[in-house]
């Protein structure tokens, strides 16, 4: 039986070789006289598509708006869209392709920490520039990533400040079992130690978990002042439904969520979450002119049943921030653009935002919101001033132990 399979293999390998060679032929020029290629990498399939598809829509909107307005440095933006397929290796692999084969001037995308961590070495060794739009666990500042979402001191710490202001001193922590919740809860615990607050429990459930009866009954029984919720995605639906079943109301025990935005509210069921709290930097209801224009443009393009959320807005901003930085540098070169980042200011839907060159994060205002009965989120508290990003929490004494 030796010859046949081997011969099969020969034929197959030849075909493969030809395919690969054919593929390698279509190198695109990254920047021409009329166009500039940028990459977009989001999970369009798999479990994360639920969140990332909307972010892609926001990026696409920003690109089209800029193109309609004359492009960047007189060039039309040509996006190359890649599917990260909810898989870190695919993110790394596709990012490598965007940088090496497509010569993308910059790349917008990523959602999970895992996808960002997977792409980080790719961007560092190819000297690319990634715009990452989601709030995250901090403890990172790569010269090849610009973080347009909040780091912990722009979301979690203000949320804790708010809860403390409201007189909530005992917290119940519930989160999905992955990096962001575990890191967030370490910060929360350190904060609680330093501020005489009490952590009554710290519970983790696997991603995609749907059985919360034990935890919700525990919350009903122990009656903490508030619940700090770092559950991800789908699990929130089950959690809030079952929390309501257990008889816990937002008046008795408010749940403060850091991963529930406008688009998750409908899936959770507005009735189940009305009155509970969220911590973000932007809401669809945020009141300023730029946001009015953004929400109108978005709903006009994608349908009036669509909502806008913080990660979408941060992704939308990142395209404009990149454009501003390119124009300030008068160059698409990554090193030039990076040098121009510090102090870039734009009027964004969340208000005026400024890039901090040292950390490559955005200086932004923290906002606590409350879900209303229409499924939108009303702002009920705002940080006194825009917060300078501090991904390693070096400015907080109580956090000293967290950095080792």
């Amino acid at each position: 039986m030796a010859p046949t399979p081997t011969r099969t293999l020969t034929a197959l390998t030849l075909t493969l070789g030809l395919t690969l060679t054919a593929c390698s032929g279509n190198d695109t020029q990254g920047i021409t006289d009329d166009t500039v290629t940028v990459g977009m990498i989001h999970s369009l399939s798999g479990t994360m598509a639920i969140s990332e598809v909307t972010v892609r829509d926001a990026v696409q909107l920003a690109i089209d708006e800029i193109n309609a307005d004359g492009g960047v440095l007189g060039r039309t933006i040509t996006p190359v869209i890649e599917d990260g397929a909810s898989n870190e290796t695919t993110f790394a692999e596709r990012a490598e392709k965007l940088l090496q084969s497509d010569n993308a001037a910059t790349v917008f995308g990523g959602w999970t920490s895992a996808s960002r961590k997977a792409m980080l070495p790719v961007f560092e060794r190819n000297n690319g520039l990634l715009w990452y739009p989601v709030q995250y666990e901090g403890l990172e500042a790569s010269p090849n990533i610009v973080y347009t979402g909040a780091t912990t001191n722009q979301q979690i710490i203000p949320a804790l400040d708010y809860l403390r202001e409201q007189g909530h001193t005992s917290l119940y922590l519930v989160g999905s079992d992955y990096v962001f919740p575990r890191t967030a809860n370490q910060i929360i615990t350190a904060y609680a130690d330093a501020h005489d607050m009490d952590i009554t429990a710290e519970e983790y459930t696997p991603l995609g978990h749907t059985e919360y009866s034990t935890i919700t009954n525990d919350i009903a029984r122990t009656e903490p002042d508030a619940v700090f919720n770092t559950l991800n995605g789908d699990s929130n639906v089950s959690f809030f439904q079952q929390l309501r079943s257990a008889g816990v109301t937002a008046d008795d025990t408010p749940v403060l969520s850091v991963s529930v935005a406008e688009e998750e509210v409908e899936g959770i069921g507005t009735d189940n979450i009305t009155g509970h709290l969220t911590a973000w930097n932007y809401y669809q209801t945020t009141d300023n002119d730029t946001n009015g224009v953004f929400v109108d443009a978005f709903t006009e393009r994608y349908g009036t049943d669509r909502v806008t959320s913080d990660p979408m807005q941060s992704a939308y901003n990142s395209v404009y921030l990149w454009k501003a930085a390119v124009e300030a540098a008068d160059s698409f070169d990554v090193d030039d653009v990076r040098a121009a980042l510090d102090g870039i200011t734009i009027d964004a839907p969340e208000g005026t935002i400024t890039l901090d060159g040292d950390t490559q994060h955005v200086i932004k205002t923290a906002r606590i919101g409350q879900v209303n009965d229409e499924g939108l989120i009303d702002e009920i508290w705002t940080s006194p001033e825009p917060i300078v990003p501090d991904p390693y929490l070096q400015g907080y004494d109580w956090a000293a132990d967290l950095n080792g």
Binding site: G46, V53, T205, T210, Q241, G267
Partner: protein
């Protein structure tokens, strides 16, 4: 011990969900040996059927749940029947081929749901008559929707048992499971029986899907959350034994709830998996076994 008593109702509630998800597999996998990876997607189709009745057809939420149960049974049953007659019937006796085949079908169904209904979860409101719950001793609150699922699971089990033991078709089905050749020789049309079995198994997935809208998210990946657990229930129960599946579902539910009382949910899941592997060491054929008269 106190934890066990307190967690018992929660365990039963979890067990009922597992049971509903696994009942259909008891037919397609347990009785026909088809490792149907698309079972999770059939559950998902059932859930979306409930959504369509409520949001597109516009049936009042008070009744849409009840209307959705038979509709979903018919929709997913027909889908399963189509799969069986066009594809799966060529693969009996080759479990891994059916696994790979149905995995491909599952991928297509999942992406189709994403394209039709959008990637985000949709809201299927629970009927108002299911709001509220009862409080048990030990301050355990059980929601009416949980009781509804428990009642639904028990109803399904009784209906299936009745069908298998009392009806003519059900007896034919059992005859085919016990000895296909002898059944065929006795004049039973095994093709029809296979197709019917698959119809019922897939239909039960639809019912499970409708029930799951009461307690969890309704989205394209709804089914994948349950598929491994559902298979484990059938395996632990013993292939093809309804009583085994029922017992296994509640045992796993209670075990899960008890462990969760002192460990977090992630750890609980790990412990349950380990317990299953250890259990299968001791009883490789599950809790109950079907004595087949076929030569192996």
């Amino acid at each position: 011990m106190e934890a066990l008593v307190n967690q018992l109702p929660i365990g039963l509630a979890i067990g009922a969900v597992l049971l509903l998800a696994a009942l259909g597999l008891n037919f397609t996998f347990g009785q026909m040996g088809v490792i149907n990876m698309a079972h999770g997607e059939l559950i998902m189709v059932g859930a979306y059927t409930a959504y369509v009745l409520h949001a597109w057809v516009g049936i009042n939420p008070a009744y849409s749940l009840l209307a959705a149960l038979p509709t979903a049974f018919a929709v997913t049953g027909t889908l399963g029947w189509l799969l069986e007659t066009t594809l799966i019937r060529h693969f009996y006796g080759r479990p891994l081929d059916t696994l790979l085949l149905t995995f491909g079908i599952g991928m297509i169904l999942q992406q189709a749901a994403r394209d039709i209904f959008g990637a985000p979860n949709v809201d299927v409101p629970a009927p108002t008559w299911l709001t509220g719950g009862i409080t048990l001793p030990g301050d355990i609150r059980i929601h009416y929707s949980r009781l509804f699922i428990l009642a639904l699971a028990i109803t399904c089990v009784i209906a299936i048992a009745h069908y298998l033991n009392r009806s003519r078709q059900g007896r034919r089905m059992r005859a085919v499971i016990h000895n296909r050749d002898l059944a065929a020789v006795s004049g039973i049309n095994t093709r029809t029986v296979d197709a019917t079995t698959f119809f019922i198994g897939s239909g039960l997935a639809g019912i499970a899907g409708v029930a799951l809208t009461l307690i969890g998210p309704t989205g394209p990946t709804l089914g994948t959350n349950y598929i491994v657990d559902a298979f484990l229930v059938v395996v632990v129960g013993g292939l093809g034994r309804l009583s085994g599946t029922v017992l296994a579902a509640f045992a796993l539910g209670i075990l899960n709830a008890t462990v969760e009382a002192w460990a977090d949910a992630s750890l609980a899941k790990l412990i349950v998996f380990t317990a299953i592997v250890a259990f299968l060491q001791a009883r490789p054929q599950g809790l109950f076994t079907v004595k087949t008269r076929a030569l192996t």
